[in-house]
Symmetry: C3
């Protein structure tokens, strides 16, 4: 089990150093690494200026170098050491500057003096450096030299999608983002875990549903993707998740969809109840990632989010302390198993109908176990209780909720009832 955790963690390590933003070569490099894992991944590019709903694709941002020389000429801040040091989307700069003026372009966190904060300015031209507060406190008066070798040019926004066909056109949707530089939980855990969910789904036999999986820059990427695919998404998506912050080893979190009662919500809460010790249930009002777009009122897709610690709810969030030590094999493996259980639950969520009125005679079919161990008694009890709700209306996840048993304990029983001609699938 933990083997997959190690593999996901290894992929996190591989993409961690890359300087990603909402556009640029870092995104391309990241997606190319993921494509090695999933060869069927399709990488798309969309031109700067392309309109998507109320938005336009911004200019492409690339950066080669960025540093500050102190009055003594020593390089005290260096983008090549940590790509958080340069504010995202900083315009090029190359000038001498007094400390008092430099200070207007410096970002640090007094309460976390060892952390480099993560700051961006996508839609307002600006430049800046992010440093630890300890370093900032040591800065002396004098003339500093600041250099940012970046380019903001008409270019492209890059994203990737993967369509895994199933028996029906109905889709389960997974979305994750690839726009943050070197941070572990938010964000390497998301794309790395989704990569391994994709591998699982590709290998799944007799897939009932099709799967639509995307790796996009947050906000602008999901808006762009919706603007290009809204009709088919609205027609086909029956459930889905925005996957982020799935790498730390703390308690789980759940952020519901707008309605709070979609299949995604129902399945996620069922899985979290039965597969974890406890989890934090957030309100949709506390949303903050791409469900903001997927659940916007005219879009209104059934997208929820299962996380380990939710973005914004841990001190290391959006700082250099959200690094490869903050995430772990165990954390990633746990989240992976929970997502697999949720995806399996959706795949197996059929409606069943009894083939006969009244209870079937289990004895003549050998379905009453001869031993009377506790576990076999539980199986018979669960079998009879499942049967009581094979009424052609109640889906399996609802039955699992009614009888308060994990849905994965029902798969074998249902299979046996099907094999013995006691129930039939009755999806509508």
């Amino acid at each position: 089990m933990s083997e997959v955790g190690l593999k996901i963690y290894t992929l996190c390590k591989k993409i961690f150093p890359i300087n990603r933003s909402i556009t640029g070569d870092g995104v391309r490099e990241t997606l190319n690494i993921l494509k090695k894992e999933i060869p069927s991944l399709l990488i798309h590019e969309v031109r700067t200026g392309t309109k998507c709903f109320d938005w336009n694709i911004p200019q492409e941002w690339n950066i080669d170098d960025g540093y500050i020389l102190n009055p003594s000429g020593n390089k005290i801040v260096n983008f090549r050491e940590n790509n958080l040091h340069v504010m995202g989307y900083s315009i090029p700069v190359d000038q001498n500057i007094k400390l008092s003026d430099l200070n207007k372009h410096l970002y640090s966190i007094p309460e976390m003096p060892d952390a480099i904060p993560y700051v961006t300015s996508y839609y307002k031209e600006n430049w800046g450096f992010c440093i630890t507060h300890n370093q900032r406190k040591k800065l002396v008066d004098g003339i500093y030299r600041v250099k940012i070798n970046s380019q903001l040019t008409d270019g492209k926004l890059t994203y990737a999608e993967l369509l895994i066909p199933g028996e029906t056109n109905q889709e389960v949707f997974l979305s994750t983002y690839i726009c943050h530089p070197s941070m572990g939980n938010n964000e390497t855990s998301g794309p790395a875990l989704v990569t391994f969910l994709a591998k699982y789904l590709i290998n799944l036999k007799n897939r009932r549903y099709s799967y639509r999986i995307i790796f996009v820059p947050e906000t602008i990427g999901s808006i762009l993707y919706l603007s290009k695919n809204f009709e088919s998404m609205k027609n086909n998506i029956i459930a889905g998740f925005n996957v982020t912050c799935v790498g730390d080893n703390n308690d789980y979190s759940f952020l519901p969809s707008r309605s709070g009662n979609s299949l995604s919500d129902k399945v996620a809460k069922h899985v979290l109840k039965h597969a974890t010790d406890s989890y934090s249930l957030y309100s949709f009002l506390e949303r903050g990632s791409d469900e903001r777009q997927y659940c916007s009122p005219l879009v209104d897709l059934p997208i929820a989010s299962i996380m380990r610690t939710k973005y914004g709810e841990y001190d290391e969030y959006h700082t250099s302390l959200d690094d490869l030590n903050f995430i772990s094999e165990e954390g990633l493996n746990g989240a992976y198993q929970v997502y697999i259980k949720a995806l399996d639950a959706i795949e197996n969520n059929n409606v069943y109908i009894a083939n006969n009125k009244c209870e079937p005679q289990l004895g003549k079919r050998g379905l009453y176990p001869n031993t009377s161990l506790k576990t076999t008694k539980d199986i018979v009890r669960n079998m009879m209780n499942i049967l009581a709700f094979c009424d052609g209306r109640t889906d399996l996840i609802s039955i699992a909720e009614i009888i308060n048993v994990p849905i994965w304990d029902l798969y074998e029983i249902i299979s046996s009832l099907m094999d013995n001609d006691i129930v039939s699938i009755h999806n509508t």
Copy 2:
């Protein structure tokens, strides 16, 4: 703010001394005073004997004088000193009577020895005097003289209505009563406060709804009014309140409509939750005023009641102790502000729909405040949360409930979203 409280209190003082009953000159005199405040008030009269549903308009009652002379010939009870002394609808009487016989016609309250009780006998011929229990205990044996100079004649029942037109025929309804003699909370506070609500509504610009406001004697008056106006009321009224006991300065009370989930209920509970420290939530089973008629099963209008202390729930109720000291400027002003908030909430309770899929780009419209004060953050958060429910189905009061913010904090935000073409009104 408290200025309006003083004005309402002054009107209470003006109508307090008048001897009102369900018919008679006291009602006329009261309505004429109110008509000076609201010249567009229409005063109607309906003949004795007129059938209204299961009822008939009773005879008109007027009274000039009433007193008791004790065996020494001293006037010990005098209607002209306090009009509660004569039981409402007392028939004329002029006779000498032994104390033991007189006692059958005397009403007092042993538990409240200083209070004159308020007693009526509308539909059964009788006469009586109401006195304090302390006075009663001092009565000595002997022959008393009782004199009531009243007239019960075929006449008219008097009531008033005010129709304030709005952009639509849909109506908000306010009802209050004018049938109790000199008592402060029940009843001068009701008609006085409604008079000032009427002034507010008349001055309201671009009224969306029409307003139907009536001043009627309790029970027979609301039954009569319904019998004459039922069809248009049933077709048009979307919300409304029976206004009574709005003058004391104690906690608020709420009596729901029959269904408990009408717009009136929703708005009233929202306003009381956010605008008061606490309030008593009664059951519809504890109703006792004209909502008995408005919410009767074949009428079933969405009428609820916001009060300060509910009728029957304060010791002074229906006694001479419910006087001008029991009510106050502050009490009246508080109830007025709550009713204004409720009426405003109904006026502003539109359904909105987003103009674009996905979130709008607030930045390019300057809707992201540059300062990051707590209040501006709250505004942005509220703005995004409002937007999330501008789905063409959810009305503003429901949005306010979902995001748990007073609806009056949303008016400016919605206005800004409208001005920026982000949302549109989408009422059905």
Copy 3:
């Protein structure tokens, strides 16, 4: 009142000694005794092998004798002393056997050393003896002689039904079972109590509903009955109960129908709330008697179960200790009264509609009591509250729930409202 308890208990005593099983002469003998109480009872027989849904009627089982002789030749276990001693549906046996082999055919309960357990093997050929554990511990090595003089032959399954016609074809259904040998609560209490409910219903004047009452062997009997009568049952049954375990004097229990919100559920919970001090509310998942068939998904009838202590929830269950001492006149009488209240509630559960808009004038009809005792005030309050929900939609049991008054306190009030032309029946 307790007179009927004594009569039911007397009937329990009469049928207690008979050796019943799912088929055989014990069933016939029991039903003939019940037919003496209810001459209109129809007794039916169905041949071995008859198919009913997934099942077939088994062979008929009869037994004349059964005993064990110990190595000294003494009769130590004797069917004629207690018919629980022979396992139900034991095949004939007549052989000498070593203790070690005999032990494989002996059933006892170590935790209840004085109890003879009740064991059956209907659908798997076997033989066995049931003894107390104290007796078992004393058995010495040696050769025993076992003799069971039983017959398993193609024969018939016997059951009885009673159809009591009412004004409408809509039916209330009562089911109980007659397949357990000498035990008191489970089962003599069930058929004995239902016999007296049948007498009550036969004598009921102006029955609104028809009543279908059956006495069947558990499981196979209800399946058989459903297989023969499903269409009319599905069309006509509006409520019903499976009556079992109604003889002990402990707290009441309620097992809901599959939906949990049928008329049966609503009425039963209302009656138990108002007529008992407390009761145990079980989940449908804890079902275990013929509601398993009546509430199976393609049958789905509104059948619930009101019990004293539920089967399986008392130590004496399915042992010789569930005897005539475990049940009592008081226990049976209590359950009888509760069932009568439930049946009356169903009979009286009309929908009413007010004849006039607004409240009626009670005074002119003399419906306002002249005395003002607490009870008369309660009657007026209840009358006005009932009236408030005579809206042509709300049935009487719902009104009773809304105003939180036992439905039986409303019958007289409704009757008075009908007599005074204030309300009319408005069933749909």
